[in-house]
Amino acid sequence: MDLELASRYIDFREECRSWLQANNPGQIASMDTPEGFEVHREWERVLFDGGWSVPGWPTACGGRDCDLIEWLIYEEEYWLSGVPGRVSANGVNLLAPTIFNFGTQEQQDYFLPKMASGEHIWAQGWSEPEAGSDLAAIKTKAIRDGDHYVLNGQKTWCSRGAFADWIFCIVRTDPEAERHAGLTYLLVPADAPGMERRPIGRLDGEPGFAELFFDNCRVSVDNVLGEEGQGWAVAMAAAGSERGLNLRSPGRFMAAVERLTALVRAMKEQDHDVDARLRDEVTDAWIKAQAYRWQTYQLAAGLMEGAEIGSEASLGKVFWSELDLELHATALRLLGDTGEVVDDNDWLDGYVFALSGPIYAGTNEIQRNIIAERVLGLPRR
């Protein structure tokens, strides 16, 4: 065990921090408004031009070939700096690992740089009205017709789907096959003929989701990722990243708990009473963020030696999503009876966002089943 940072890591942290400080655009409009989406795309471009969009990718694709430790440091600095969030997150975190693993050379060359620069912003098109946690119940059909698939069906809960340029979907190419068989991973341009999208208001009213309707929508067979019929296996690789290191790095929560402790200090300076209960909750959240950090460094050490993350990713998903919810609920309790007021209340925005954490990417109920069955080995039925 060696928990001291080598000087190259210290230098990396410093370089990252300086760049973010120098280039921070400050508060910008929500990425779930048409204007905000484009402003966020510009921020992606700024990151890309500075070399800080996808530091973990190979330099050839616009990255800087960071190792996992550097990537974790980058994430810590990113969130601590207070720069805007990433409108590209679905693509960079969930799709890109799949393209690296399963994409053809042509797909990698075409899609990855455009994703890195913000030219293509991606949305995820997996869920359907009757296929949420039960993803294998997907019904959207994609029937081969020459060098195209013809899509019919409906997708829903596509985060960023209202304004995205591309959508990565799972569709049923073999309507005879059931459940996990006969599914295919397909990349669909937002302007594909026969696709319509309808924004869905999120809890906060912003169109953070969309529904997609396919009516004889034609998509080129070149846009299959992996093999036809192998969609489930291809998707599960990305689901591993979604629940694992990539989706929610510790840096995000470390930054949030620093803001929380700063809130307590500010309140105490203004002679607000912060009693032992609230102080305890704030401290508990701070400790849990550190716990998530060190558990991640432990995972990273294994990954760097060639280990893989499997069902253990579910442990992290439950932990960070419930930490996120608790830390925001604590902040609202600190704010007391002005907590319901929206104006300039980042904590309330954060609380509402955090509420989705135990639901998306597989509900925490499903995650706990996975932990029990696949990590602990309890009987499935």
């Binding site: 869905i200 809890l203 907590g339 319901e340 509402v352 639901i359």
Partner: protein, 332 residues
Amino acid sequence: MKFAFTDEQDMFRDTVRDLFADLCPPEAVRASWDNEDGRVPGLWDALAEMGVLAVLAPEDAGGLGMDEVGLVRILEEAGYAGVPEPLMEHAAVAVPALAEAGSELIEAAIGGATRYSVALSGGGPNVLAAASVDALVAEDDGALVAVPADAFTVTGAESIDQSRRLARVELTGECADLGGADAALANDRAALGTAAQCIGVARRLLDATVEYVGERHQFGKPVGSYQAVKHHLANVRIGIEFSAPLVYRAAWSVAHPETHDPVTRGRDVSMAKSTASDAVDEACRAALQCHGAIGYTFEYDLQLWLKRGWALAATYGDARGHRDRVADALEI
């Protein structure tokens, strides 16, 4: 000793419930988010006509002469229906304060001509419906005063529940002294009335969720057949089961000052509000989680009650603040 409502109380509750179902369905609540004044057309007049505004006014002042025990079940229904009007503020706080002060303003209040909200120390800096009401009962330096709309100014504040039109108010003109009305009692009434609404919101969230998880299928089974979902909702049911009686018991306490001194009354009200806040908080959390993504959308009605629940749980004192008051009464 009989812990049960009278047939009259039950019937009156049922009548008001039907009225809410009729005039204040979810579409009306949703409309109040966007319209100019945050109101439900026709509802206030109907409530006045039915006597709901006059529940706590004595019969010799033209009221129904009922007490808080009868009123809390009406307010529970208001929470269940999601009523966005300042019904609790008007009927549970302003009207009895005017009555106790012997003010002649009470006539217009119970008739519905003057619509009140309240500005009390226990309610925090923001006042519900301040911009649309005709008058306030306000706490001013520990005493209660009646303030007509032209005697205060408002600065709007946006609630996450946009049917709750909030504003800070500043008293700028002449107020009517309500000597004889007690500010501590008014605050207790507001906390009690909010607790009753919390119970109603929790019941609505539970009913909506039970219905949804019975219909929604995943992995070939209704979502509601999964034990984790069952246990979430069983917990919500338990929370309601053991908070509602404390609300009724506190209503009795408020209604019987001859046997309940202010400390006991405050303790009882705080027991009610702390458990009701906890119950509705748990109902919100479980309802959203058991709905999944659909519950997280603006178009689906669940959000109306989620946001009401979050707001009411913290309004007029959150669970902890009220537990502190119970602890004080227990001298621990």
